[in-house]
Subunit: 142 residues, 4 copies
Amino acid sequence: MPPSQDHEWIKELFFRAAFVRDMGIELTCVGEDYVETALDITGRMTQQDGFVHAGVLATLADHTGGGAGWTACRRDQTVLSVEFKISMLRPAMGPRLRCRAEVIRAGKSVIFTEATVLGGDGREVARLTQTLAVVPIGIGNR
Amino acid sequence: MPPSQDHEWIKELFFRAAFVRDMGIELTCVGEDYVETALDITGRMTQQDGFVHAGVLATLADHTGGGAGWTACRRDQTVLSVEFKISMLRPAMGPRLRCRAEVIRAGKSVIFTEATVLGGDGREVARLTQTLAVVPIGIGNR
Amino acid sequence: MPPSQDHEWIKELFFRAAFVRDMGIELTCVGEDYVETALDITGRMTQQDGFVHAGVLATLADHTGGGAGWTACRRDQTVLSVEFKISMLRPAMGPRLRCRAEVIRAGKSVIFTEATVLGGDGREVARLTQTLAVVPIGIGNR
Amino acid sequence: MPPSQDHEWIKELFFRAAFVRDMGIELTCVGEDYVETALDITGRMTQQDGFVHAGVLATLADHTGGGAGWTACRRDQTVLSVEFKISMLRPAMGPRLRCRAEVIRAGKSVIFTEATVLGGDGREVARLTQTLAVVPIGIGNR
């Protein structure tokens, strides 16, 4: 099976992730080797100083990175996050965050992605680099 | 002001973080240079394959790391996550995750922590290393 | 003192780093918020399979990142690597590696950079993200 | 073939890595799932302020991590560094650095390790977390 950028397939993978759906992360664009998402910030997403919690930024960027990885693997494969690093460049505020993730290298068993998160004022608030494992669908255990 | 391991102070910092409170993260132990937490997994915390979402693991470990950092700074200071890296060692399942974070080096302006997350069966499911910036309270912008 | 992109100053900081000079890392370009370097690969830079050792890639990218950070700080300040993460995208070969590092966010006390390393065939072989601490010259201890 | 902790095998893998041999990294102990090394610091290993260069710490910790990974894989397999993150906890000085790396999770295709580097005074100067890919010997390309 060739790589696929089928939007419906990627949409389903976002929809089936309860944590992502519950948080309200929207898939806004799917391209070859990249995915874009957005998230409306609500009061329950903050940390102790009123900024967006790093865990929210990490969830948004990690899942968007995974989405980019899906565009680079076959339909009988899926990806799992092996590890990611995220840098919090600035305190993040809403009302709406945008994220774009790109594949920077797709190997047979490992895909590397990078994601950037923009705050409500359009400035970059976080950057993530991620390693994904490519696994057959149904195999969740490395 | 000397360093403080005042449980009430740390508890308040967990309580004031809406994302952490909303998710249900519990502060279970506070010691000198370490903090322990726990989280009951619910259906809304999963990713597309039914495992705990990496964003949940990241939120738990990042905030617990921040809690450890608080135990190592003065009462007129707070900490902000500069960056963290998290490795997903195994697929994570509930019913209850436990996390322990320790300070591995506390400098004047930077604190390094490490956190480990255990799954429902007691095996380690994720490990995080984190850099915290020590900032005066009320200054959220580096 | 304003930020400075004085090439001679940056050159001196490369020259004074014995490990970098000994390895043969060349400073090829200095711009506002970025630095470019190059390295001719020799037989003593390999790992057990004949590829360039990850430690060579890390040294090149870390020091180039530090160079970018220097362009963003004052002349009475210097930078120290707090942490970096490097991803090895492909096995790296010579005869000559090129590296470009950019500042992605310069705060008062913390600078974030990203560096990319290209192999002899022009393809990206490694990507690094780095956190630098900005410190007064002469203060090597955070 | 079962996992092997054959010292000679691991020694050879250190010896065949020219960059590691040239730098003078010594393999001091091999155990089940861990490896210890040491490095005498010379004048050519410093950065611009006279401390050990982060690239030296990274080389030492990365290769020691790889050594730990070798103890956890079969004799017809080898490991490649996919990525690592290293935190510089304190300025590092000689005369001799010691490093210990441990496997924290060995999967079929991915091994996670952690390494700690101690400075001449016995205090921890750096900590590394690493992802290794397990590959058949002779296959250097993921």
